[in-house]
Symmetry: C2
Subunit: 233 residues, 2 copies
């Protein structure tokens, strides 16, 4: 998928530094899925129709299913999964506190754009780990059609009143900014994760140029999602 | 399961009054599952440990899975599933508003005792409908081991401080009282459902004696659950 897809092949999973990075990665994604569950469950209450509320709680339930798979994997690595997750709670809580939707449409845009951004980001990092862990992570990030309804609802709202588009476009930019802030904080606070990206003697890492390219890919996909919703990036 | 298990065999599903009752029954259970999801998601925030929080959000996610199956069945009957559910929102919201847990242990007892009571009640009513609908309902009411942890947590809390047992026992009685109040309200407000229980020319119903026996069964199972938690009924 990316230039680093095969970066981790041949890495000894018994290497403690590598193990720590995998535990961190599984921990942060599990924690993000729990936080996303709570946010979606909360935002569902803003839904104007029962149908919309059910669509959002369904997205919330999918987060739980994914979280449980990652938690089991953490347990199978011989670590306390809850400890691995708890380390990331402050950053994820800060993200959600700073991006608390003030209405139903902001909640929908966040469920689509914020969630998509997070998934792209974790998928990029997953390129640096072994195949088995990577496949588990990618499977847990996969979404089915649930979020299709978000696109329709947002486009319908803009068609009904074009004035809602401007504030929602700003909101999308703010989600991107907050996500980057917290991603940076997570990387700074968790040495094992940054070391994973930096590479080592026996495994390739990311130099500044490839970090730049990764950032470009994330930004492009964010812009695509905004465009799908009918919002200017 | 009950004396009326075979009550609905041979009932013409095309009978409009019977159809209306089935739609009501599927509607009230779906709506109850959505309400239970919201309550469990909310109460999970009170969890002292991440492990407990995950246990509760897992129970919440199971409610969504069940709700979706019943919603699909409603749609296949040619009715608007959201309309069928919406009729029961006031009664279910009232139940949850009147039984809002003031702490984590009350939330746990409610998740176990309140949920168990509701399931027993719907299972009793399901005895009056056709096999296919009944099996769908019973499957949606089935729980796996998720709630085992509730029993352990409550027993541990009482062992650590026996004084918490008294208030929790009172809380369990209050849950029973509120559940009966709302069940009565639902029966009074929804003629099709009460007609289902009362029976008709071509199908047996419940007389006062069998209604009394049903009430006894519900009370007995409630007492069993309270005892499992280490609480006096």
């Amino acid at each position: 998928m990316t230039e680093s897809t095969s970066a981790a092949e041949g890495v000894a999973i018994s290497d403690p530094a590598y193990q720590a990075a995998v535990v961190d990665l599984l921990g942060v994604i599990s924690c993000a899925e729990l936080a996303a569950f709570e946010r979606l469950a909360e935002d569902a209450k803003l839904a104007p129709e029962l149908e919309d509320r059910i669509a959002l709680v369904t997205m919330a339930a999918v987060e739980v299913d994914n979280l449980l798979k990652l938690r089991d994997r953490l347990a199978s690595l011989g670590v306390d999964p809850h400890e691995a997750m708890a380390r990331f709670e402050p950053a994820l809580e800060a993200f959600h506190r700073h991006t608390s939707p003030s209405n139903w449409l902001e909640g929908l845009v966040k469920a689509y754009v914020g969630d998509g951004l997070a998934r792209d980001f974790y998928a990029e990092i997953a390129a640096f780990v072994d195949v088995e862990t990577r496949e588990l992570i990618l499977a847990s990030l996969r979404r089915d059609v649930h979020s299709e309804f978000v696109v329709q609802r947002v486009r319908d709202a803009i068609a009904a009143d074009p004035r809602v588009g401007g504030p929602l476009a700003l909101w999308g930019r703010r989600l991107m900014g907050e996500a980057l802030t917290q991603a940076q904080r997570i990387a700074a606070d968790h040495d094992a994760l940054s070391a994973l990206l930096a590479g080592g003697v026996d495994r390739p890492g990311m130099d500044l140029a490839s970090l730049g390219r990764m950032f470009n890919r994330l930004t492009e996909r964010h812009a695509e999602r905004m465009a799908e919703l009918g919002l200017a990036h």
